[in-house]
Symmetry: C2
Subunit: 230 residues, 2 copies
């Protein structure tokens, strides 16, 4: 990790018992204020319907004292990101998001600007997946083929958002989340995976990583050990 990176990586926008982003309100406000940011560019590429999705996020975040604009409303997304101070990359489908970021030549640009400390990054769900080393541990369906699974690499490991401990349904024979992550860990290219439960936030501040939020996380290290953080 680069020493100037600033990122807030949310497992999800929604958490049981909270309205949208409510569990993360204090962290998001503190993060943006600390970095002296008032304007926030929202990247809605993980979903269809950019206008509606941006409006939903704007309706939540603007009342907190910030001003949200959709990246799709700028004439040139590359120029917009070159001068942005902060972005929020929303959730949806990780494959669609990563492909659209590549199509718009934004992957390496975002990496460079975040690593140099010029761009503060907030991601949620798919927006968190693409902030990591690769999208190998997304839960999403591969609805479109991206040019690579390599992602923005703000952190040099993988995150599994919406991490859930228990079998989803004991009668259902599909793999559990731990089995799926275990399959990844067996790959030669696999490294560490952080399973972020819904309601959890990873705060990246230079080389410091702080787990925040209300739900904890599970760290999967190579040679598959598991470490609980409550």
């Amino acid at each position: 990790m680069e020493q100037h990176s600033k990122a807030l990586l949310l497992s999800s926008s929604n958490c049981h018992g909270y309205s949208m982003l409510e569990f993360a309100k204090e962290e998001i406000c503190d993060f943006l204020k600390k970095h002296d940011v008032q304007e926030l560019i929202f990247i809605p590429y993980a979903q269809k319907g950019y206008d509606g999705y941006t409006k939903t996020i704007k309706n939540v975040i603007d009342p907190w004292g910030f001003s949200v604009s959709g990246l799709h409303t700028f004439n040139d997304p590359v120029e917009a990101i070159k001068t942005a101070r902060a972005i929020f990359v929303g959730g949806g489908n990780t494959f669609l998001l990563l492909k659209t970021l590549y199509d718009n030549n934004l992957v390496s640009l975002i990496r460079e600007r975040v690593c140099s400390g010029d761009l503060a990054y907030i991601g949620s769900s798919a927006g968190t997946n693409v902030a990591t080393k690769s999208i190998h541990t997304t839960n999403d369906m591969p609805i479109i083929y991206p040019p690579s699974f390599d992602a923005i690499s703000i952190v040099p490991f993988n995150i599994n958002p919406h991490y859930i401990d228990k079998p989803e349904n004991e009668k259902h024979k599909g793999e559990t989340r731990d089995q799926r992550i275990g399959e990844y860990m067996e790959m030669p290219h696999a490294g560490t995976v952080l399973g972020l439960r819904e309601g959890s936030i990873l705060h990246v501040h230079g080389k410091s990583l702080i787990l925040k939020g209300v739900a904890g996380a599970v760290l999967f290290k190579k040679q598959v050990t598991m470490q609980q953080f409550q």
Copy 2:
């Protein structure tokens, strides 16, 4: 679909209340006997540990009166498939399976031999995913990057194996299966998707498709309508 194709596409090998493959025993036996097949080549590429995986399947199917061999035990997989009468492509990780099939130059060979009626195909879970148009509707984690999501295309549509109707966990905010399939249906390249519940089997016999097994299926058509088959 080609008029000579013969395939049996299982949602999964395991089904609640049955031992491994038990729910499909009669169909598999009838299918192989009808096509006068005694030797069955098992393709274990969706999992690590080919020997152990092949042994597990052999221990189930050999007592039914057939002889199972792992494709990995042949010197040349291409030559083995060129002379095989029937294959069973087992479940595990769909991305790993498809990549390994491409690495071994087997995708188009299997397609040609199945379409010409020379090779009978049995697939389960990931082995069913790769038998379809593409792997866009797998549930698996993208643990490795395949050269394409295009698959063997024995059928010209997609299947979602392990299809499950209900939200996996009402407190969990990850997408439901229907939402995930709905995201795919919004893609310009998406067509029909058959959600095969665990315990269901799609029997392909030339241009005829017959739903068999114990659990039914859901058909998702473009412009997202849903049709129930009980």
